[in-house]
Amino acid sequence: MNRAVKRVLIGLGSAALSVGVICAVWQGLISGFDLDPFLTRGPLDVWRYLLDPEHDAERALLAEASRITARDAVIGMVAGTTAAVAMALAFALWRSFEQTVMPVAMALRAVPLVAMTPLIALVFGRGLLSVTVIAGIVTFFPVLVNVSLALRAVPASALDLMHAYGASPATTLWRVQVPSALPALFAAMRVAAPLALVGALLAEWLTTGRGLGYLMLQSVTTFELDRMWTAVTIVTVASILLYTVISVLEQLTLARYAPDQARRAL
């Protein structure tokens, strides 16, 4: 279990490093470009604003918006990943299904989500459902492509063995293909998690008008610039955290199912 603890620590360390680098670049850009102080805030300004004892109402507002965005992103990601995994499994069992559906799915993916959002709002309303659909769609494709490729990339010898023992396709899928596709699933989720956040923000901005996605825009138009920069910071940090959490989960799972792959760096 020591190794697991070490991996978690390494994960947290690299997340902290990312935050440090981003803050340095941020401050550098602000100082270097001589930007109007009315509009710009540095990392320290955000920090002071967040900790100001008089800002209870602001903190409550940001916390509530963050809670909504976190809910939107997580629900979207879970829905998108579940749907993608289910479809990848169906692809593995019925090849003809894949040949019919995959090109359609890829064509849909080529339509920019921003362009589809007004339609999605029209069809699914302006509530949690359309947010889930939008955040789900961004998660769906990377997971679908990666997992269905991995399900197929199982060593032929393993499949031959299962075949020789008379295993059904479903058993082969469950015993051999699924475990060997786990690394691909996590790799896809690491990419998809920050995307789910972006999808949630987009949905909030264009359809629901709640959460951090709209709060950022609203803060600019009402000149609450401290609030806007803080919201942007929260989103950035959340994105890094989400990535880190999934990386750690990935390492723990791989240590169990694919020890040879677990050794690579986070």
Partner: protein, 360 residues
């Protein structure tokens, strides 16, 4: 409604407006606006004044709302006033015009007193130097079959409000003692389709714009003017940075002269600006010229009043200033007259050339 063309154009526009705004949406808006000032006034060989490029931030998409500027540009009024070229920058539901002017990316912007007032109270170094509209054009548009006729009717309804109009919406609710938590507000873009699809009950609009748009498509609307419900004020104000009035006073005057001449023409012939909006400046917006003419004629009724006939376009009487300030205070924007308005430049323009005042 069966207008696939409009829908497609809307989506294209939305996509364009939204490109790159994903995570750092608002930050990108501000940062893009914060780049260095690229106006480089070069000395002209012709010996005349050369003010370089006029960067002009509009408050909305390029429809006939800015007729005077299109005419001034097309007829060369800005050039005659000393600018080498004009950069009319489109605004829209997600553009904060006051931020763009504050960042120095535009010499002048068109805004609303409540938006600029809120910015000034937050420390923005801005000031308003004139007003195109003598009356508040904002309204809540609803379907005639389910009308919203009074502020009280808003309670329990779902209203589409553009992000850029948040300060106006907030102040209007406050001026009418309405609790924002009792009204569902959803983000609106510029196409009132969600109202037609009954996705929302009301749509934040200019009375000149969206109601006419739907009228030409055969849809009857009810219009509740903010001006008639505790919220009268001037609008479409010219906003500049305060230091611009010191550093670039002549440039501001030149811009105003171009606009006065352009708007004078637009009042003479509402179809002129409509044609330019539909066929040149807003060509890719899919505007209907016939509808733009209606809109142009409607807006002329608030640009030209007995007062502006007597004192010149964009001037604001003391009485109207008092009223605007009083309304703003009701909406929680407690800005003073001297903080918000400086009409001295406009006065100087008309003093130097009283013939500009002559309107048909």
């Amino acid at each position: 409604m069966g207008h696939p063309m409009d829908r497609r154009l809307f989506m294209l526009r939305t996509a364009r407006a939204a490109a790159g705004l994903a995570v750092l949406g608002s930050a990108a808006t501000v940062l893009a606006a914060c780049g260095d000032d690229d106006e480089a006034p070069s000395t002209s060989a012709s010996g005349g004044k050369d003010f370089g490029t006029l960067n002009y931030q509009l408050s909305w998409i390029k429809n006939v709302e800015f007729a005077g500027a299109y005419i001034a540009d097309t007829n060369g009024y800005y050039k005659e006033a000393g600018f080498s070229s004009v950069n009319l920058m489109a605004g829209g539901p997600n553009v904060s015009q006051d931020s763009v002017v504050t960042a120095g990316k535009a010499l002048v912007g068109i805004s609303s007193p409540d938006i600029t007032g809120a910015a000034i109270l937050k420390g923005a170094p801005l000031v308003a130097i004139g007003a195109q509209y003598q009356k508040n054009p904002f309204c809540i548009m609803s379907l005639a079959s389910k009308p919203i006729n009074s502020p009280q009717d808003l309670v329990g309804r779902k209203i589409g409000v553009q992000a850029t109009n948040e300060p106006v919406w907030n102040a209007f609710l406050k001026a009418n003692n309405l609790d924002p938590s009792k009204i569902t507000k959803v983000p609106a873009q510029f196409d009132p389709q969600p109202l037609v699809a009954k996705e929302v009950d009301g749509w934040f609009s200019f009375f000149t714009n969206e109601p006419n748009l739907l009228k030409t498509k055969g849809i009857d609307t009810a219009v509740m003017l903010l001006n008639d419900h505790g919220y009268p004020m001037v609008s479409e104000i010219y906003v500049v940075r305060k230091d611009t009035l010191v550093k670039d006073r002549d440039k501001v005057k030149a811009m105003l002269i171009g606009d006065i001449r352009g708007w004078t023409k637009s009042i003479q012939d509402p179809a002129l600006g409509a044609k330019l909006a539909a066929t040149v400046y807003g060509k890719d917006l899919g505007l209907s010229e016939a509808e733009q003419v209606l809109e142009s004629a409607a807006q002329n009724t608030v640009v030209q009043t007995a007062d502006t006939k007597a004192n010149g376009l964009f001037t604001i009487t003391d009485q109207l200033i008092e009223q605007t300030i009083k309304t703003l205070a009701l909406g929680g924007v407690t800005v003073t007259k001297d903080q918000l308005f400086d009409l001295s430049v406009l006065k100087e323009v008309y003093q130097a050339d009283p013939s500009l005042k002559v309107t048909p």
